[in-house]
């Protein structure tokens, strides 16, 4: 699998959704590592990098962090104007997942969460995004991508 995991952080700096894709038959875990150190460290790092990026560029232009890579993985980030952060962790071979992240937001998130009466939008302290339709549709979308092998 060249896509390792998918996280969503809300505007209150909490991880509301985490999805891991593993090679085994169980297809990966959903929402099991929201409170983990990995999630917290990842968010802290992205937050600090965002601050640095805004200080490095000139004042007017928007300087958004798009991806971050190491030898073993690449992190792709997309932030909406409402403070939602979509993060995908993948192999370093994959170059640009901005359009995928945009699709996840504008299509799947908006349709299944924002437009869904019975699903919360502003998550309370211990609420997670566990909407089964959202999970199954995003899984299907991500696994249908050519980069997901």
């Amino acid at each position: 699998m060249t896509l390792h995991s998918f996280y969503i952080f809300d505007r209150h700096c909490r991880c509301v959704y985490s999805r891991e894709y593993t090679q085994g038959s169980d297809g990966g875990s959903t929402n099991r590592s929201n409170e983990s150190d990995t999630a917290k460290l990842m968010f802290g790092m992205l937050y600090s990098l965002k601050n640095i990026a805004s200080k490095l560029g000139d004042k007017e232009a928007r300087n958004n962090l798009k991806s971050l890579s190491t030898g073993k993985f690449r992190l792709h980030l997309f932030e909406t104007a409402t403070g939602l952060r979509f993060v995908i962790v993948s192999d370093p071979a994959i170059d640009n997942l901005q359009s995928v992240l945009w699709e996840l937001y504008s299509n799947y998130y908006v349709r299944n969460v924002a437009q869904n009466a019975l699903s919360p939008v502003d998550f309370a302290c211990d609420e997670l995004l566990a909407n089964p339709k959202f999970v199954s549709e995003t899984d299907r979308f991500l696994s249908s991508l050519p980069v997901f092998r």
């Binding site: 700096c13 917290k40 908006v110």
Partner: protein, 193 residues
Amino acid sequence: MSKTTRYSGDEMWKNNVEKIQNSELFTLTYGSVVSQLCRDFNNNYQEVNQQLDRMGYNIGMRLIEEFLAKTGAQRCQTFKETAEMISKVGFKIFLNIQPTVTNWTQDGKTFSLVLNENPLADFVELPMGPDNRICRDLWYSQVLCGVLRGALQMVQLDVDVWFVKDVLRGDDQTELRLRLNKFLKDEVPAGED
């Protein structure tokens, strides 16, 4: 503004927005809700206004995501830009109307939106009771105030929105006023400063 011409409200309405044939379903649904609220609160119109505002706030929090998804807009740099976005694009893609932005104050923090037509209140008249309370107290389209407040809150703008005039009350036009209180800072994760 060059940015708003990029997100032309009219074009988006024509091509990108899924429409339903009958706006009367929308109007009648809203009317049904208002009358149910009046019954629930026993004609205490202040309460009804507050409830409509709260409902609008919840709607606004969701509506903003759809707005951003459809227009791909980024956060506006100035309040004036925000006003343009709301009137030219926002109202157009959701209600198919285009209100005008007027009455800016000196400091650029308050402006008025004048609605020339209001699909929420199509064919509505407020009944005159013995003491005219409904005309004095009820803002029929109060939900719009809540929607604007909720949507702008999600993009870190703290605003107050209220009605100034309403055609249903016998005024000559429907006018909303928005005031920017402050820009909200993005939240910091625990442990950072």
